[in-house]
Assembly symmetry: C2
């Protein structure tokens, strides 16, 4: 609980000492420098430079006198101010980086994306810039984070087809579900994501390894084509299954899950990716 507060304050460019001092002032104020040091755990020998830097930034107020008193700017105001500063900086950044409007249309390279958040961000960008068709193979967990982007794409007139693992519901996309219990989910060795946008751009990779998740993004025809085709074949298969499940199950033994299991990736493959 308290850890999150400190983390949050550090993200608002507080140092540890500054965070401690500010929080103890929020709890009780006004206080003398000595008292802030005592309550916050910041060494007395440091408290005045810490309070000074807070005062100069406008995060606390100083009441001068023989023993000055310190008081915090209310958290709400502080956040409001920080937000405005940040917004200004973003606008400045947009202006000064505007000249670098690049096409970056290389059909030769394969780009590596590290980290689950980054991967999902790239997938979102893909969806957002798509014009005609999206094929998406995705797990329930990731689908939830992509739903609003997908809905927007559909509203733009993009044809969205989703092959999903898990129990998802969608009123806007063509949906194909790979039903399965949770036990089976574990066996897969991890969740992956594959997206093909406008048959010209692909992101594919593992997303269940947190920071160690890896994906590739490419416009390389030699990859876009086969990956897109694989998904299309999967769709064929599912259409066939829908209509002819019984005869197929009979010919492959008691169920098709075992067949799937036979060809699946060995769970140990993870070890190659996780440091």
């Amino acid at each position: 609980m308290k850890k999150t507060i400190f983390e949050t304050l550090k993200n608002l460019n507080f140092t540890e000492y500054e965070a401690k001092a500010y929080l103890s002032l929020l709890e009780e104020s006004p206080l003398t420098g000595y008292a802030v040091a005592k309550n916050s755990g910041v060494p007395r020998s440091k408290i005045y430079e810490v309070l000074d830097s807070l005062a100069i930034r406008g995060d606390i107020l100083v009441s001068p006198g023989n023993t000055p008193q310190y008081s915090p700017v209310p958290a709400k105001e502080l956040i409001k101010n920080r937000r405005m500063e940040a917004e200004q900086n973003f606008e400045l950044a947009e202006k000064s980086l505007a000249e670098f409007e690049q096409s970056a249309n290389d059909r030769e390279n394969i780009w590596n994306i590290m980290g689950r958040i980054e991967i999902l961000q790239k997938v979102k960008d893909c969806i957002a810039s798509s014009k005609t068709r999206i094929l998406l193979e995705v797990w329930e967990e990731e689908y939830e984070e992509l739903e609003s982007e997908l809905r927007q794409a559909v509203n733009r007139g993009v044809n969205v087809t989703i092959i999903a693992y898990g129990e998802i519901v969608s009123d806007f996309a063509n949906l194909y579900l790979h039903y399965m219990g949770h036990e089976i989910t574990e066996e897969y060795g991890g969740r992956w994501i594959v997206i093909s946008a406008d048959d010209s751009e692909v992101v594919a990779g593992i997303v269940s390894l947190g920071k160690d998740s890896r994906a590739a993004w490419t416009r390389h025809v030699g990859l876009v084509m086969p990956i897109t085709e694989v998904m299309i074949h999967d769709l064929y298969l599912m259409e066939i299954m829908k209509k002819h499940r019984k005869p197929l199950e009979e010919s492959f033994g008691e169920n098709l899950v075992n067949l799937r299991r036979k060809f699946s990736i060995h769970p140990d493959f993870k070890k190659h990716y996780v440091k």
Copy 2:
């Protein structure tokens, strides 16, 4: 020009090396690590850790291979991502600091505010939280920055009276102008600002010294009352002047500006405040 770009990137938590590497990738991509080092001026021996940290943050993309290629995430996307992160952090901060809703209603202390921006921010907060009446003595330069807050206050039903130095126009407030040429402005030794909100809160100080500007904020009755009264007296005087200018000018010589000049603060007073 280029300095601002580096400054801006540093504010988006780039290090100097990271900024150089990213900018050179924006100018030309994809590049090998070696080429990035060459174009950007980052030492070759550092370029890979720099590019790694950029890649892990998702600011650039890596195309693996015998000699990996690097490509930047377009500036627009980068800023969009940063903005989302920042917004999330602000919302988190608001939640975790919500418990510290303090009244901070001390009528005993006088709080020192350092820096022009911080002072104006405090004045804005005062205006925003006012309920009944605002008396504001202000220069044209500062008035412009406060106008929208003042307008909102009036729309809330707050009675706003402004004593202004300079040529300002306002269709919503009671406005009293101290007309004067620019030569006279210089003589004052600096611009000040005084605001009294709801007769219970006062901010007063100098705002023309940039970072060295100083102001006091207080709810101390011993200060709020006299300061508010001084402004009211100023208003009286201006009303009187409006109607009886001629006889007064006759009794004090050719004009009243000279009288004002006689009693004004000596310009050297600045030296006490500027380091």
